[in-house]
């Protein structure tokens, strides 16, 4: 029942490529690349760059606006939040944690998905039907609900969050890998590897896996931005990383009570989330175009 080979995707297919002028023009990509590197550096060097301890409260300096505004305190470049914590320091550490969580989540999802896809595409028959049926169930579920249930039962901690993020997108990887496996196994070199007496496992891992890794990497990039959004959504509604630890999402979530009087508490982390998401999407799109071109040339 899951061996459907119709060109009807059960999710949005990966976003259609960018308009040609955007792809042809190099500048958005160059800017995105440079911004990406800057964000990565900021995340890696957060402990060294942050002027303050991100969780240090200073109640006398609550809700100071960024420099350039009335009542600003020159030591706090981007102002302080409702507990007098330095927003710049919290943003840097939050960015670091958000990126790390999304990276681990992507890796976990990729690991599960590739393993399931390999097994399904390799074993076929009942195992395939069963595993792909599970993937279909996963794709049909509103995932936020699953995340809510898991977090309510297991509590909210970093390992639980990484697991939730890993479970969020494994099915996409599984489908992709299985599809590739089914296509690859008919190719002459795979047949040749079988013919010279390669064990099925060896053929799958040594000959087929390296040849399907390209699209998997592209999908991982695209999923990375989805995971950043999922993590920040969960932290935003208060069930992700627990206070006082900062992630970009939780900063927006907790700051929204002060939206009317102190919009800067929310503005900087919110802007940063949009920036990260845009950069990762642009880079992912560019990578996909590259890979597609490479595949077409094959």
């Amino acid at each position: 029942m899951s061996a459907t080979v119709l060109p009807i995707p059960s999710r949005w297919p990966a976003a259609p490529p960018l308009p040609r002028w955007l792809r042809a023009a190099r500048w958005p990509l160059i800017i995105a690349g440079m911004l990406g590197l800057a964000l990565l550096a900021a995340a890696l060097l957060a402990p060294a760059l942050a002027p303050f301890d991100p969780n240090a409260q200073k109640l006398l300096a609550r809700l100071r606006p960024p420099i350039g505004f009335d009542r600003a305190d020159a030591r706090y470049w981007l102002g302080t939040d409702q507990l007098g914590r330095d927003i710049l320091s919290r943003c840097l550490h939050g960015l670091r944690l958000s990126l790390a969580l999304s990276l681990f989540g992507t890796t976990l999802g990729l690991g599960i998905g590739v393993a399931v896809g390999l097994i399904a595409g390799f074993a076929r028959g009942w195992t395939d039907t069963l595993l792909m049926g599970l993937a279909d169930v996963k794709l049909a579920m509103p995932f936020t609900l699953v995340a809510l249930l898991v977090i309510a039962l297991a509590g909210s901690s970093i390992p639980v969050l990484v697991t939730v993020l890993g479970l969020a997108y494994w099915a996409q990887f599984a489908r992709l890998v299985r599809g590739q496996m089914l296509a690859l196994r008919e190719l002459p070199y795979v047949e040749a590897a079988r013919a010279v007496g390669g064990t099925p496992w060896r053929v799958a891992v040594r000959h087929m896996l390296p040849n399907l890794i390209g699209p998997v990497v592209v999908m991982a990039t695209l999923n990375f931005s989805n995971l950043i959004l999922l993590e920040s959504s969960l932290s935003f509604i208060g069930i992700g990383v627990q206070p006082p630890t900062a992630t970009l999402g939780s900063m927006v979530g907790q700051g929204r009570d002060y939206l009317a009087s102190a919009p800067w508490v929310v503005a900087t982390p919110a802007g940063l989330i949009v920036l990260v998401s845009l950069v990762v999407m642009l880079l992912g799109d560019a990578l996909r175009d590259r890979m597609d071109a490479a595949l077409r040339g094959r």
Partner: protein, 305 residues
């Protein structure tokens, strides 16, 4: 068609079975459900009595059968916070969530499809490029950030729209807009690509050659064919829409099901969550199935798979 229907039905049953079993296992594996149900500080004796009362001391298989029996009997337990039947709590809130979701869906389709067609028609013009750029932005901005931006602008700066609640028509504008934004953006990009595929077909040239007006060719021959994949994908996207609504409801204090479920998570109100997951997942999967069947009825190619 009968074989197709039978396959889909089998799949629906299997899916529901997997979900119910997963929920059952998840609640059993992470400790005794009674500990979520009962107030803290209960003595060991009372706890044992409660476990026996709820039938939680039997073998796992018996518990599993009991779980199914109570589902069929319509007994879903009491909400931990409100001390009322879960069914009652959900019945009160379901309408508001459905209102939000259906309005967002209508908005998405009525804005996204025309804009997608325009983007395809204007593909060589600046307007088309701007449209696509806007769609790319709409795709990349997370819904809760957009919600905050709208709140900041329309509620706290301009004072045009209410910031929380679900009472008047004005309350609907921002939640629907934020929920729809991502899907409009996705639909614009998807419709555009589908249109461009279709407009390159021979039958479009034939239609032009017959002397039909460009508008008729575009809508009757172009859009009708482009819509087939677009609507299928849209129907299957309901799951993501529901996920989005959960977040949006908490931002705008929209006391629907999403708001309820997030609250239940924070307070570990497990009967409410369990029921919520079962009913919402069931509804979403049923909608997917209906879309599938509707498409198989309209487009014979789908049935052959």
């Amino acid at each position: 068609m009968t074989a197709f229907l039978a396959r889909r039905l089998l799949r629906l049953i299997a899916t529901v079975w997997v979900i119910v079993s997963a929920v059952f296992l998840a609640t059993r594996l992470t400790g005794n459900p009674i500990d979520y149900l009962m107030p803290e500080g209960m003595d060991a004796e009372g706890r044992a009595a409660m476990i026996a009362y709820w039938g939680l001391d039997g073998p796992l298989l018996d518990q599993y059968m009991l779980f199914w029996r109570s589902l069929f009997a319509g007994e879903f337990g009491l909400g931990l916070m409100e001390r009322r039947p879960v069914l009652e709590i959900f019945a009160e809130r379901m309408g508001r969530s459905l209102g939000l979701l259906s309005l967002a869906l209508v908005t998405t389709v009525s804005i996204g499809v025309p804009l997608g067609v325009l983007a395809a028609v204007w593909r060589h013009r600046a307007a088309g490029t701007w449209l696509l750029l806007a769609a790319f932005l709409g795709y990349a901005i997370p819904n809760f950030v957009l919600a905050i931006l709208l709140l900041l602008l329309f509620s706290f700066t301009l004072h045009w729209l209410p910031s929380a609640g679900a009472t008047t028509g004005w309350h609907y504008i921002m939640p629907v807009a934020t929920l729809a934004a991502y899907f409009v953006a996705a639909l614009v990009r998807y419709t555009r690509n589908a249109m461009l595929d279709v407009l390159g077909q021979d039958y479009i040239r034939t239609a032009h050659a017959k002397g039909l007006t460009p508008f008729v060719v575009l809508i009757r021959h172009g859009l009708r064919n482009a819509l087939i994949p677009v609507v299928t994908v849209l129907g299957l996207q309901v799951a993501t829409l529901v996920s989005g609504a959960v977040v949006i409801e908490t931002v705008f204090a929209w006391d629907g099901m999403g708001d309820l479920l997030v609250g239940a998570t924070l307070r570990r109100d497990y009967p409410v969550l369990q029921f919520g997951v079962l009913i919402v997942a069931g509804a979403v999967i049923a909608v997917n199935m209906l879309v599938d069947i509707a498409y198989a009825a309209i487009d014979p190619r789908v049935r052959l798979a």
